[in-house]
């Protein structure tokens, strides 16, 4: 490998690094020789990509196959309004190349899978997990453990975040912390989702900081510590993260010696299928609901979203009963009269219909696609969110 040096322009660019003895020329060259893979160009990937490019990491890879949409812009600051509709990799690389043209950018426009993860990861020193779902998190973890590469982890939910460094030089891994993911039915419902737009900035930059420290070999990294951040209380707390000797991925008697089927491991299809299959039989198109409303048909129409969503938009004629209150309020309805339930996109109302059918409402039906489909097919003046 040819000797890596900094050009005159690069020396000027990195001067604020170079004048600190903790980084200096040696450190800046370490950054330039380093390669980092970002998994995901979303909320966490956005600040990570921008700052790691600015810091002068030599080679940055990005795994993403998504397209920028308007709902991303509240937090994914690597993308702008004019990028909506663009591939995220393309949009992110335009921003990063503008920040620092000396960084080599490698796009992996694909869904990370058990088939491609090891092949993609092998060319990078550090893997940064900015994904948004459990199957990919376990996949990233296991691939990092198998390849003995550090996994810089960050995760966010509403106003809270977690960050740490897994699998660094034999340290604890994600499975040591959480051996198994929650089954899909137990994760907080759609209505409890969402995230403060600034939060991924804070957590993503903790990940970026740890990445740079790992490369420079300075400071105390988060290896063995789980950092928790609470934006509302503005509190950072740290918990001890221990290596589990019984960990199936990195413990003394490993059972995970190759990548597995992570979607199955996380129980996604098996748990979701029954409710949807039952509900699908009773699905009703938004246009059909509109016709019924216009004709003045006798039927019960309920909106199972949360009150704060009802404030954003609503369908006239629908009664708001949040999904969680349905069991208590089911007595308000007549089981012999047709009942139509809707939510934002149809998942929660499918659960409502499933529940209602078990409670004896044989004529309960789910409005397909929720209020989003209503906006597309019936009334475009209803805002989408």
């Amino acid at each position: 490998m040819a000797e890596v040096t900094l050009s005159k322009d690069e020396i000027l660019r990195y001067s604020r690094h170079l004048i600190m003895p903790e980084v200096g020329m040696d450190g800046q060259l370490k950054l330039k020789k380093a390669s980092v893979l970002l998994v995901g160009a979303g909320g966490l990937g956005a600040p990570l990509g921008m700052y790691l490019a600015a810091a002068g990491i030599g080679r940055i890879g990005l795994v993403d196959f998504d397209v920028v949409d308007f709902t991303n812009l509240q937090r994914q600051i690597i993308h702008g309004t004019s990028d909506v509709g663009k591939r995220k990799i393309e949009s992110a690389f335009e921003t990063m190349a503008d920040i620092n043209p000396y960084v080599e950018l490698i796009g992996h426009e694909t869904a990370l899978s058990s088939e491609n993860a090891l092949e993609i990861f092998k060319d990078y020193d550090i893997i940064v997990d900015g994904t948004d779902n459990f199957p990919t998190r376990y996949l990233v973890n296991d691939a990092c453990v198998l390849l003995n590469k550090p996994n810089v982890y960050g995760s966010i939910f509403r106003f809270e975040g977690q960050a740490t460094v897994f699998a660094y030089e034999g340290g604890p891994c994600y499975r040591c912390l959480y051996p198994e993911p929650p089954p899909p039915g137990l994760v907080p419902s759609c209505a409890e989702g969402g995230v403060l737009g600034i939060l991924p900035g804070v957590i993503g930059l903790i990940q970026a900081t740890e990445t740079v420290k790992l490369i420079l070999g300075i400071g105390q990294t988060l290896v063995g510590r789980l950092m928790l951040y609470d934006a509302l209380g503005m509190k950072f707390r740290e918990l001890k993260l221990r290596k589990n000797p019984e960990c199936p991925a990195c413990g003394d008697h490993r059972t995970i010696t190759k990548l597995i089927d992570y979607v199955e491991f996380c129980g996604v299809p098996h748990q979701e299928a029954p409710a949807e299959a039952v509900a699908a039989m009773g699905d009703i198109e938004p246009t059909e609901v509109k016709t019924k409303l216009d004709r003045g048909d006798k039927f019960q129409f309920i909106d199972v979203r949360e009150p704060h969503e009802y404030q954003i938009c609503r369908i006239p004629g629908a009664t708001l009963i949040p999904l969680g209150e349905l069991p208590k309020r089911v007595g308000e309805f007549d089981p012999d009269v047709e009942l139509v339930a809707h939510c934002k996109s149809g998942a929660r109302s499918a659960k409502a219909v499933d529940f209602l059918k078990q409670a004896g409402f044989k004529n309960a039906r789910n409005m397909k696609g929720g209020i989003l489909a209503w906006s597309d097919k019936v009334d475009p003046s209803v805002p989408k969110y």
């Binding site: 966490l44 939910f157 989702g193 001890k240 996109s345």
Partner: protein, 97 residues
Amino acid sequence: MARILIPTPLRQFADKNDTVDLPGKTVGEVLTALTARFPDLKKHLFNDEGKLRSFVNVYLNDEDIRYMKKDATPINDPDTLSIVPSIAGGFDWSSRG
């Protein structure tokens, strides 16, 4: 007596409380008092065999109870018990639906 810190995803099952002070001499006793007060929390914390779920960790101060005496870990006032569930989001993954 211990102060229990309830994380955002579980507050909806705990009358929206973020902290609760509950009596008990061991971690198990305090958690039992917690689910007695908020029955909806029970299925989110424990499986059918009454064991703590594998995607929920409990910390006494900063130490994981799995590496102490688990449920039998003794509690001294003013210990803090943190419930730390697994979260996946890099963005609003849970609002799909």
